[in-house]
């Protein structure tokens, strides 16, 4: 460990871990329940990360890359080394992660004040930061998988922090299991890499791909499998259902999950392993990202819960990033990840501030029934909470792509990349991607301004509530201001494009056999695309804002009337495209099918063995009871139920009679013999 940069990065990584260990064991006994400990750890990390960043700027080198490896495990001839890899992208990510995390820590001191498990909460925050930093720093697929799981685990703890609420503990389980479904794919992808290339290190794997050791359909398949991990963690269609529910956690946690950590992990993964994806895999990624962006944006239009709107906007923006990567816009996608981190964290903390105020007001009024998150109960808050309002407005402009705000630059870059791809690839799908993304830009502007109008403008929905609402304490507003500045200024100066270079697969090749990469489309096309995309995006954003203003500020049109008029569409969107219901329906249909099959199975097969008609009755009644049960929640329940059904049926076989067992074992022996005859 001779390199000071490595040491420094390692300290950044290990500080939160140390804080976690201390906090989990003795946190409660420390003064102020130890909240200062993880907070200061992450702030020190932030300072170190910023100095790293400064050093990077000072000795500017696009190809900067250092790594260090420790021997970790040996599997026969295979050696897994556990190493950290630092390049410009890593350093930027370090800054972003520590910055958002530090601000969330700070904000939480105010927000979580008086919570029952205050000290535990800060321990979880620390382990979360540690996992995310580890994810950013490791240099191999194996390590990324480990931290990947750790991120999932710590998010589970944080979302379920208020586990007394059933919805919170359900949401935690849902998030954990849904993301793990994606993780299976990722593990399969990693196993394919292991089987074909025999290594996990990014560089070695990329070299293997460049040398053609893994290619064709298998490479595409492996890439898509790895991307599955990102689908889960970054809440891409069809595994996006967990993210809105994850709002059940404390609001700062939502900010942390949505802004720079968990959901960003998927995008970062795709970016980090960018060269691994074949053209077909990239197309798949682009399509998934676009679908996600569109679906989530349309759902966000109708939602009334302020956090739900933000949740769907996050999903939509993540779709943007993924789509950008899919169309080859490496820079654009990652750049948007940075800017989004700033303004989305700001939006969440701002909404947290609003909810805090509403909550406080209701508390004063002894109203414990009204929902402090429902925008219909808000309105006119801009006079009461000027700082929150101003910063939220800045973030809204940024996310909408209003010129001169941070989001404008990154969103513009994404659209430009999509357009460029569409112009050069001659694949109609790419044109559709560009069109959809452009449409989404308009929708985004619409629903974000809707949020601002409903919350801060107009007449207060309830006078007395409005009267009691007040600006949040300084410890909460300072992070807002800091993030506000970044949301405005974060996009200037082409800093990102200057610092990060798009990786090139050919550079990894160890042999010269591979033909050189197809040259990028001419500068001309890029320039045209860029200018065109910029105007189109400004136009889309402006239109969205205009419509939004017409609806919610000038009240030229009534949103309710519109909703009434297009009721089916409205319902469709309000019910989130019926995703949860779709999954539930599949469960029901599946259950019916299974019940028929199982009835047959019981009748013909088990019955002979079990020799009891009673068993069928029991099973039948249980299954009909099943149908009566309200089966609600999407994919998780689908899997859980199908799996559970199998479990319940197989359980019937365990009759408790030893002679049944012997008979079945012998039957299995005969079966194995027959199988051997058939396949040998």
């Amino acid at each position: 460990m001779d390199n000071p940069i490595l040491t420094q990065a390692l300290i950044v990584l290990l500080l939160p871990l140390a804080a976690f260990v201390i906090q989990i064991f003795v946190g409660k006994r420390l003064p102020r329940q130890g909240d200062w400990l993880p907070t200061s750890a992450i702030f020190i990390g932030l300072i170190l990360a910023i100095t790293l960043f400064g050093r990077m700027l000072a000795n500017y080198d696009p190809a900067f890359k250092i790594s260090h490896r420790f021997d970790w495990i040996n599997i026969g001839s295979l050696q897994i080394s556990f190493g950290i890899l630092i390049d410009n992208l890593t350093v930027i990510m370090l800054v972003v992660v520590t910055l958002v995390s530090a601000l969330v820590h700070l904000f939480s001191i105010g927000y979580m004040h008086g919570d029952v498990r205050y000290s535990r909460y800060f321990a979880y925050l620390a382990i979360f930061s540690f996992s995310m930093l580890g994810l950013v720093l490791v240099d191999n697929f194996f390590g990324i998988y480990i931290f990947w799981e750790l991120v999932g685990l710590s998010s589970y703890l944080l979302i379920g922090h208020w586990y007394e609420k059933k919805s919170a503990s359900d949401a935690a389980i849902k998030a954990f299991i849904t993301t793990r479904i994606g993780d299976i794919g990722m593990l399969i992808g990693i196993m394919i890499i292991l089987a074909t290339l025999g290594t996990f290190g990014f560089d070695e794997v990329f070299a293997g791909v460049a040398d053609g050791k893994l290619s064709g359909g298998l490479l595409t398949f492996a890439g898509i499998m790895i991307f599955f991990g990102a689908i889960g963690k970054s809440a891409q269609f069809p595994l996006h259902v967990w993210l809105p529910d994850a709002m059940e956690g404390p609001t700062p946690v939502s900010a942390l999950i949505h802004a720079a950590t968990m959901v960003a992990a998927g995008v970062y993964l795709v970016g980090r392993t960018f060269v691994f994806y074949s053209a077909d895999a990239l197309l798949f990624i682009g399509v998934i990202g676009t679908i996600t962006a569109f679906i989530a944006a349309t759902i966000a239009i109708t939602q009334m819960d302020i956090k739900k709107v933000l949740a769907y906007s996050t999903i939509s923006q993540l779709g943007y990033m993924v789509a950008a990567l899919g169309v080859g816009g490496y820079m654009a996608g990652l750049f948007h990840l940075m800017t989004h981190a700033f303004f989305k964290a700001l939006l969440f903390l701002g909404s947290g501030s609003v909810i805090h105020a509403m909550h406080h007001a209701y508390h004063e009024l002894h109203d414990h029934h009204s929902d402090p998150q429902d925008m219909r109960n808000m309105g006119g808050l801009r006079t009461k909470m000027p700082i929150t309002f101003a910063t939220m407005l800045a973030a809204t402009c940024a996310i909408s792509g209003v010129p001169f705000f941070a989001g404008f630059f990154s969103k513009d870059a994404i659209l430009a990349a999509a357009l460029e791809k569409a112009l050069t690839s001659h694949n109609p799908i790419h044109m559709v991607i560009f069109g959809t993304l452009l449409l989404c830009a308009g929708i985004t502007a619409f629903y974000m301004f809707r949020l601002v109008y409903l919350t801060f403008f107009g007449e207060p929905a309830k006078k007395e509530v409005h009267h009691h609402a007040q600006e949040s304490p300084t410890v909460m507003t300072v992070p807002l201001i800091v993030l506000g500045v970044l949301a405005v200024a974060g996009g200037y100066g082409h800093w990102f494009e200057d610092l990060v270079t798009k990786p090139d697969l050919a550079a990894y090749a160890t042999t010269a056999l591979v033909s050189p990469a197809v040259p990028e489309a001419g500068h001309e096309a890029a320039h045209t695309a860029h200018t065109m995309a910029m105007w189109l995006s400004i136009f889309a954003a402006g239109l969205g804002i205009l419509i939004s203003t017409a609806f919610y500020y000038w009240k030229k049109f009534s949103a309710e009337a519109m909703a009434e008029r297009f009721k089916p569409v409205y319902n469709f969107l309000w019910n989130k495209w019926y995703f949860d219901e779709l999954y539930a329906k599949t469960v029901l249909a599946g259950t019916h099918l299974f019940s028929r099959i199982s009835g047959w199975f019981d009748l013909k097969v088990i019955d002979g063995l079990v020799n009891g008609v009673a068993k069928i009755t029991v099973l039948g009644s249980r299954l009909s009871g099943w149908n009566d049960n309200k089966i609600v929640d999407g994919l998780v329940n689908l899997t859980a139920n199908v799996v559970g059904w199998f479990g319940a049926t197989l359980r019937e076989v365990q009759t408790g009679r030893v002679q049944n067992y012997i008979l079945m074992a012998l039957g299995a022996v005969v079966l194995l013999y027959v199988l051997q005859l058939a396949f040998a």
């Binding site: 586990y163 365990q654 012997i662």
Partner: protein, 506 residues
């Protein structure tokens, strides 16, 4: 047999005695326990447990002393000493020592006559020793029967408790039936080769061209005997009932000791009787007509899937762990599928991991039997608050059983999958099945976790529970290595790889 042959044979018997010290110590322990049990006529004296503990620790030392012994056959090649059996002997003694500990603290056994209990436990351990080192069909049979017969008695040890008696009955019927099948399989194998020594059998199988279908049937029947010991599908049916009914320390013991012994036997049998063992990197099946990997792969996939699926629907924690232990046998079997060196040490590594996490989980069950007087999952609600240390330890074990990172269970699973994937592309499907199974297992492990931490309890139960210091120490003994080996597993790995060395000469 002429007189020189007799002389050689006798000489071999005598020279083998010095390698037999650990077994002698255990036999001595049995005798001492019998004498003490007869002379001290008090019920439930702690001395018996202490003696058993001391004896097994001495045996452990004696086994350690055998570390540097050469790989050799004993008693006219009836048994063998080799690093492979050495590895398992340590594991068995580890299980025995822990189970003696558990038994001394267990409520179920309190106030009962425990003399026979420890005698039978010692005899089971002896039988497991022989299972790990037997190289002759006859010694294999005797070893299995020793373990089985004593296990039957141990399962029904709580004579006055109905579920224990029932467990013993089922175990006996199922067990004698399985050994009957195995015996018939042995007779067919003997008929094919004319030999009882497994190394010789391997040579004869390689040189003569045996009828593949006959060999298949013979091995299938033999697998009934082995499969019932490791509780693999389709010979697993006894396991949940017996695990639920038997005294909990014995259940814990069954789930690791005899199971590991069964694996030792299975690995040795498949790798020395049905394949040529070489000191090189891998083994090659000698009988190309019979596709053993395919058979084992099917069995492994069925075992893990069935165990996991049924476990989901369990409410009794003991029974749930029984099904989970079936599932884990399926995982461990994956390593034996390809008959490669990598696979074998992956299995051995996993067995140690399983030893730690599974005994740890059972330890929690035993502690909770005293604390909350229940084995039902819903009664574990609020344990995270009521007994934070126990709940935290349980969480570690559950994570490890699920195979989440930074635990030894993850590393173990990883080695298994890696061995499988690197062994050849035709068994990637099995790896996929295993990965899907870990997700399924998450459902029921998460239920326990959820009950402990995420489910509200009524106020009545919100009292802190007092945990004895000895229980805390035991918890630490299992929880700490579970995590530590998840981060730094090189020593365990080195040990496992170094132990993949069988006796193969004659």
């Amino acid at each position: 047999m002429d007189s020189t042959a007799v002389a050689i044979s006798l000489k071999d018997n005598i020279s083998s005695l010095s390698y037999f010290v650990p077994e002698f110590i255990l036999i001595g322990l049995m005798l001492v326990l019998i004498i003490v049990d007869i002379t001290i006529k008090r019920e439930s004296t702690p001395w018996l447990g202490v003696i058993a503990l001391i004896g097994s620790v001495i045996a452990l030392v004696a086994v350690f002393a055998q570390a540097a012994l050469p790989v050799t056959g004993l008693f006219n090649n009836m048994l063998a000493v080799d690093p492979f059996s050495w590895f398992f002997k340590l594991l068995f003694l580890g299980s025995m020592i822990l189970v003696v500990f558990l038994s001394m603290t267990s409520l179920e056994l309190a106030g009962r006559n425990v003399g026979e209990y420890f005698i039978l436990l010692t005899a089971t351990t002896l039988g497991m020793f022989w299972m790990a080192s037997a190289t002759n069909l006859l010694t294999i049979f005797i070893a299995i029967e020793t373990v089985s017969i004593t296990s039957f008695a141990l399962a029904s040890y709580l004579k006055t408790v109905k579920r224990s008696s029932e467990a013993g009955l089922k175990y006996t019927i199922y067990g004698t039936f399985s050994s009957g099948l195995m015996l018939y399989g042995f007779s067919l194998l003997y008929g094919l080769t004319g030999s009882l020594n497994i190394v010789e059998i391997s040579k004869i199988l390689a040189s003569s061209q045996p009828h593949p279908l006959t060999l298949f049937v013979a091995v299938l029947l033999i697998l009934a005997g082995f499969g019932y010991k490791i509780a693999s599908v389709p010979f697993h049916f006894w396991a949940p009932d017996v695990y639920e009914g038997a005294p909990t320390p014995i259940t814990a013991f069954f789930s690791v000791g005899p199971k590991a012994a069964g694996f030792a036997l299975l690995i040795r049998f498949f790798n020395t009787a049905l394949a040529t063992t070489e000191d090189g990197a891998s083994w090659y099946p000698v009988v190309a007509e019979v596709n053993w990997p395919q058979l084992l792969a099917v069995v492994a996939a069925a075992t893990m899937t069935l165990g996991n699926l049924i476990a989901i629907k369990q409410n009794n924690l003991k029974r749930l762990l029984a099904y989970s232990s079936i599932a884990h046998a399926g995982y461990a079997l994956m390593g034996t599928v390809l008959l490669t060196r990598e696979g074998v040490y992956a299995t051995m590594f996993y067995l140690v991991a399983y030893y730690l996490m599974n005994l740890g989980a059972f330890l929690v069950v035993i502690i909770c039997q005293e604390l909350i007087k229940s084995e039902r999952i819903q009664d574990y609600r609020g344990l995270g608050y009521r007994a934070p240390v126990v709940a935290a330890a349980m969480t570690i074990f559950l994570f490890s059983l699920t195979g989440l990172p930074v635990t030894v269970g993850f590393i173990g699973k990883f080695y298994l999958l890696a061995a499988l994937v690197r062994g050849g592309e035709q068994y990637i499907w099995l790896a996929v099945v295993a990965v899907l199974n870990t997700v399924v297992s998450l459902f029921y492990y998460a239920r326990i976790f959820k009950a402990m931490y995420l489910e509200s309890t009524d106020d009545l139960t919100l009292t802190r529970l007092q945990i004895s210091p000895s229980a805390l120490v035991l918890l630490a003994v299992f929880a700490v290595p579970t995590v530590f080996l998840g981060v730094y597993w090189a020593p365990l790995f080195d040990w496992a790889t170094a132990s993949v060395k069988f006796f193969a000469g004659l």
